[in-house]
Subunit: 319 residues, 6 copies
Amino acid sequence: MSDPFFIPPSGADLPRYAGVPTFMRLPYLSPEDPRRAEVELGFFGLPWDGATSNRPGARHGPRALRDASTMIRAMNRATGQTPFAAMQCADLGDVAMSPVDQDEALGNAEAFIAGVVEQGIRPLMVGGDHLCTLTVLRALRAARGEAFGLILLDSHTDLYPPYFGGQTLTHGNPFRQAVTEGLIAPERTVMIGMRGTAYDTEDFDFGHRHGIRIVQIEEFFDRGFGPVMDEARAIVGTAPAYLSFDIDFIDPAYAPGTGTPEVGGPTSFQAIQCVRALRGLDIIGADLVEVSPPFDPSGGTAWLGASVLFELLCVMAPA
Amino acid sequence: MSDPFFIPPSGADLPRYAGVPTFMRLPYLSPEDPRRAEVELGFFGLPWDGATSNRPGARHGPRALRDASTMIRAMNRATGQTPFAAMQCADLGDVAMSPVDQDEALGNAEAFIAGVVEQGIRPLMVGGDHLCTLTVLRALRAARGEAFGLILLDSHTDLYPPYFGGQTLTHGNPFRQAVTEGLIAPERTVMIGMRGTAYDTEDFDFGHRHGIRIVQIEEFFDRGFGPVMDEARAIVGTAPAYLSFDIDFIDPAYAPGTGTPEVGGPTSFQAIQCVRALRGLDIIGADLVEVSPPFDPSGGTAWLGASVLFELLCVMAPA
Amino acid sequence: MSDPFFIPPSGADLPRYAGVPTFMRLPYLSPEDPRRAEVELGFFGLPWDGATSNRPGARHGPRALRDASTMIRAMNRATGQTPFAAMQCADLGDVAMSPVDQDEALGNAEAFIAGVVEQGIRPLMVGGDHLCTLTVLRALRAARGEAFGLILLDSHTDLYPPYFGGQTLTHGNPFRQAVTEGLIAPERTVMIGMRGTAYDTEDFDFGHRHGIRIVQIEEFFDRGFGPVMDEARAIVGTAPAYLSFDIDFIDPAYAPGTGTPEVGGPTSFQAIQCVRALRGLDIIGADLVEVSPPFDPSGGTAWLGASVLFELLCVMAPA
Amino acid sequence: MSDPFFIPPSGADLPRYAGVPTFMRLPYLSPEDPRRAEVELGFFGLPWDGATSNRPGARHGPRALRDASTMIRAMNRATGQTPFAAMQCADLGDVAMSPVDQDEALGNAEAFIAGVVEQGIRPLMVGGDHLCTLTVLRALRAARGEAFGLILLDSHTDLYPPYFGGQTLTHGNPFRQAVTEGLIAPERTVMIGMRGTAYDTEDFDFGHRHGIRIVQIEEFFDRGFGPVMDEARAIVGTAPAYLSFDIDFIDPAYAPGTGTPEVGGPTSFQAIQCVRALRGLDIIGADLVEVSPPFDPSGGTAWLGASVLFELLCVMAPA
Amino acid sequence: MSDPFFIPPSGADLPRYAGVPTFMRLPYLSPEDPRRAEVELGFFGLPWDGATSNRPGARHGPRALRDASTMIRAMNRATGQTPFAAMQCADLGDVAMSPVDQDEALGNAEAFIAGVVEQGIRPLMVGGDHLCTLTVLRALRAARGEAFGLILLDSHTDLYPPYFGGQTLTHGNPFRQAVTEGLIAPERTVMIGMRGTAYDTEDFDFGHRHGIRIVQIEEFFDRGFGPVMDEARAIVGTAPAYLSFDIDFIDPAYAPGTGTPEVGGPTSFQAIQCVRALRGLDIIGADLVEVSPPFDPSGGTAWLGASVLFELLCVMAPA
Amino acid sequence: MSDPFFIPPSGADLPRYAGVPTFMRLPYLSPEDPRRAEVELGFFGLPWDGATSNRPGARHGPRALRDASTMIRAMNRATGQTPFAAMQCADLGDVAMSPVDQDEALGNAEAFIAGVVEQGIRPLMVGGDHLCTLTVLRALRAARGEAFGLILLDSHTDLYPPYFGGQTLTHGNPFRQAVTEGLIAPERTVMIGMRGTAYDTEDFDFGHRHGIRIVQIEEFFDRGFGPVMDEARAIVGTAPAYLSFDIDFIDPAYAPGTGTPEVGGPTSFQAIQCVRALRGLDIIGADLVEVSPPFDPSGGTAWLGASVLFELLCVMAPA
């Protein structure tokens, strides 16, 4: 049971639109705060979009998701879980990342996350663009000493080869890089939701060469989310795995506020069921990325993102 | 057959964006108008959101729904009904409700609706927040002398205990209050679409203790709207029943303009089929509530709400 | 194989948000450009909404669709097609159409399209309101000397009788006019997606009298898009057919930016599958109409429209 | 003193966002209503934009202005006037104008206004695009038998020659046409606020040839609104004059919701002072045109337009 | 000199869009925090709009203003002040105010502010609607034992008589109530910026009867802000005074996000100069109210409000 | 006189919303196009915001400005100029700039502009963030062999020291860098419009140390734009000078669509007069930067930006 210190105030005591907005209304703990030692799961933001090839704005994601997440209440009605009571959670703040220098930005994030992981806190990262995920994977890999599985819910594989000269890392290739660096185990990796136009088949080819399972959206809709997620569970197995959720997995009618939307995606209900289906796996870290508030005039994407964050949290909570 | 006085002008005679916007382009009849005696079904607005716990704005609902409803044409293509020809309908105006005094506001609404019901007019109320529904239930109960059934399409049960001290009525507990006051018959009450996070299980527990049937969204999607609505019809039976439609029943991708959206809901098609499935029941009154125009920048929620209003009308029309 | 001149630049060479926006980043060829002789399929815009009975703005459609279409990449991930490599495509520009004079506007469009067709270019027209389609049908009929089939994906039949006195052509009756003028073969015509309210049954009656197959949305959802599109293929057969896609076919949650939205429509996934199902037919021309940017604040409708345009292109590409 | 029937309800009795929205919350009187005989000043809408050369949408102006105008209270704080008490005002509704046929649309408007003028009602027209003004000028000229003065507040002269072939009337030439038809007396005509780019000097040349005084914005800002309006009063004199206010007179920061905005215009304060400066003239009719709600996402233009309408009303009220 | 603990992080160390958003990036101190004893000036929010007669939404003001205020840097370029270095400032959080019960909400706010004042912290309140100001005035009056002066920058006097039956306090009468309760000294009260329509002259009459100086906007523009503010300084004198800034003081082109905008107001430059002109007075407390985020789609009003908050802070800083 | 090839089509021949949108509807000439040799003034875009410290989005500026600029007509009404007839202008396209690699991006831009300058084309650059200006200054300096004057209209000096570690160039220091590199002559440099909060006085100190004249907004409003611009002309003198216009010079009520708005700025009228006042100087190049379409929902900033571009063009045109 959580210490009451770690329990968010109820909307019945302080209206949900009131108060300083931390993730889920959890206590904010700076790196020096001694109570960090008690934290089991930590939310933190990587407010950075310096690897974005198309429409920028994901640097504003953590701010918008903190705001929207204050609407979340204590209990998951569908599963009956009360995750804040089941484990001690906190908001660990944002990493200072230079918007104009990729190397420095990634370095700062890796150092911060290494500290988090070192303290025994499971990371729940809020992006930022998808290259941010690479920093979490690196920190987890370094701490664990071995590669782990990956479940990716996304409309893109992010296995693209580098494009644009010079700097080779973009938000289109974190997982290609992660495979190359040996961070993730490709044969225990599954990617779900791919669709839209492509430059060529190079990303799929790369994935297939390495044994990654890629589920295109047509297969997803044909078979239904239940069978697809059963297969995903089987691929990942009981060993440790990371869960990455790109908001553009969901159809842009539901989530317009993202940089590279692709039409023809799942509904919010389907997306949430996909996350819930992963309950019981050994999820060592997770993230929600690519929420871009400048393209989300009604705030609906942030609200959906906050709802997904809560489901990610519940999947990581003790049974 | 309706008197031509009660037939809305066609868009072929006056473009639908033209003219003073009344509900469905029906004649507006003030309380003193003698033609009120001929009315069988009356639209009216309760422009009030003084019981809203989260984002306000539903006070602007009747205005936006009158505007959008001028786009509705004469015939329901799916059912073949022409409701304005089948019964004499009118716009009865809005009730003057103090935005700063709940007791006075509710009292005025109850008095107005009592007058409507007394004239033999079936009420089709346009909110306003969900506490507005309580005033219709009270007026109908007073006039009929006995409790009636209820079908609620909503993402919340609105059976919550009072929250916030002092004033105990909020838009989160009209139906708890209605059960307590004996306005509705809980064993003939069915609530469909519940989802999202919860403070606890108190609302469900209350409902179940009183015999209310609650269909969560997971069950709704598992079984499909057909079987669920068949069960709803069976629960309500042939005795009188009230139908309350909270726009947040529908997924926020379709209906962003509401105060407390919950992701993972039905599509507009599914929602409309749910209403249509109730044809033939003895619907003594209905409402559409919680449309909040300030959160509806594109006007899509108002347009969807107007479409739902038309379906509510058709369900109340003679076969 | 296309001449490299006709291959759009990749986003890897020039970011997709950069450069002068032509349709799909194809070369723009004016009527006098000699390279028009090499073109097999030509995009062009009819920026005109002078026949719109409700909310105007479709005149701005071609501009917004050019902009959004620069996001399209080379390959259709679902089908594996690379249409720009398979046939030589170009942007032929917009027709100068008077916004205040219907006769002149239609005449200019017909003359322009006649020229396009004469050059052996298959037309892919971007509207504009739905009356624009009539000009393409007239030009194709004149060039071919016989009527052809029609597949219409739309929420309306556009078989309405003239409404408003005087000028009889509106965006509500291009296909009634096309039947009357003998442009299309009604027995090889299928219309899919009809829904919403109606003035009366006159449009359906007209269609049925002439042998047109009309699939209402309820049937579409009951049977699923697969069986419905199989039937559509059978109706159209192997003879030449025209394909017209009104963006209001898709539910307004996905496509709010249109003049006369009707709730309860298909998702973007379903809509795209409907187009793909037509592969292999003899499509002699196609269009996407009724995108109205002033009602599309987030640009999502334009992006969905551009995605549909790409699918139309793929259906018209060699197998 | 007005009959209480003609006094709008106070916001203290019915909140201003409540009730069926008529212009200024005045009673709506259809053409057949016998109380029209008592009306001294009549608001009515011309919901039409069929002569718009650029961005359409002004057809939605009357609807939006009725909505916004319900915010207006009884008294002009600056002048102390209570116009609704000083003369009997009413909402006469909208004219049915075909969106697709200019001749019919203008004919209907002229017939309607002729009827209004015949009943001795001074017209206060709400557009619609600027060609709508021509119909008021024609009706007034026909009734009076002689030309009258004109004050135009606008960023354009609307003295342009016809452009686009065929139909020669556009919203760019109502006043050229009015001069040609002898409706207005050019030597008693003053146009204020002209700015932006031009095709050529033909409109100015035409105006100057006929003796029209044109005040460009540079002169307006140099001299200040006081001296400019003093000159305008002197030009118009004590004989009858018409007052036309195009919302694009005001800078687009204040009034973005219009079809052809021109940057560098007056503030709302300056614009209102310009209207007030005309008090005491013999204003026989007035209008507010070119409010285009699709380009007014925040509704600020409609609210400013409603405020201008109230000032126009006050200028037309007895001293 | 401030303790470094009270110095906001620079954007050069943590980008301004990053981190948990407190007012001005100051430390958040809960009521129990011992460091509150060191605070000299405290920001806090009253997230409440339960007294709003027109468009609601000001309850969301503190959230939006915290967000926007993270853009403020250390130094006032115009005055050279560095207020965070000159006095120890903090974010004291929001008061829990029931959205449905006015008595409880006001009582909670008064108790909270009494505690703030008791600790010797000068209050800088962020609303909320204008009735929130009454709670600050009451707390200051109780602590000081005598009435104080008032400077109000607003488009309304908020001296209106109660309207709507029952509950008599609304956001239209805080200062009438404050005069009645003896909180403020009317002869040392000045109100600047009044404009728009009025129900009658009752508010002005009340003010004038009590000796309040009211400067209408016409006088403001005629004389210029310099002379007007000189007079305001003279009226208030050197004795203690409270400064209340309603965002609707500024023209809605600059500040659309408010509940009751009035056209024809000052620019942001003029408004800021008005605040700066008060430097050197004995300002015992201040507020910024009526920012309503639902009507501020671009966030510009919140940004302007945050800029005004900084100017209020500078006026309250030691010279 | 221009060759007709270089004259944009009139809106009377092709409505201004029609056609492929190039800058000002000028012909687009790729680097290889032989007609580039005839060009005297070239528009081109630098679609890049990789040096933005706050809100990104300026990479989308050239696209939005091309779109808006199609509304510009042939003649400057205020000055009588017809710049397209006076010199041969063209749209030279956008530079391919990597969004993720600053060095490569700047390098590509410099190479492109060097080519433009080499062809004798005067550059009119459309950003992009303000660091883009550095590439133009470098290319011009290299071609000319000596430093030139600078007029900057902006709310910031962009003389800030590097902030964020690593990469030292940001959009906050192009002119510091330009001074350091000897590109501009500081004693012939004038910066106008500075306001808002600051980190410290380091930027002003740097400027003053080098002899740059900085006019803060308070001085601008006190003296008026006329005297200020007279002084600017005197500082720059008759020798060559560059003119850089940051859209955030103008108040955010007029230009909300920018990354770092500062309240309290000039109106659009005043801003345009500032540009016009520079006529007759030897302007060797100019730019408009920092238009950020994601923060410009109504498109008003792009339209204002296009109007400013036209004024920049007129200032560069032969007398």
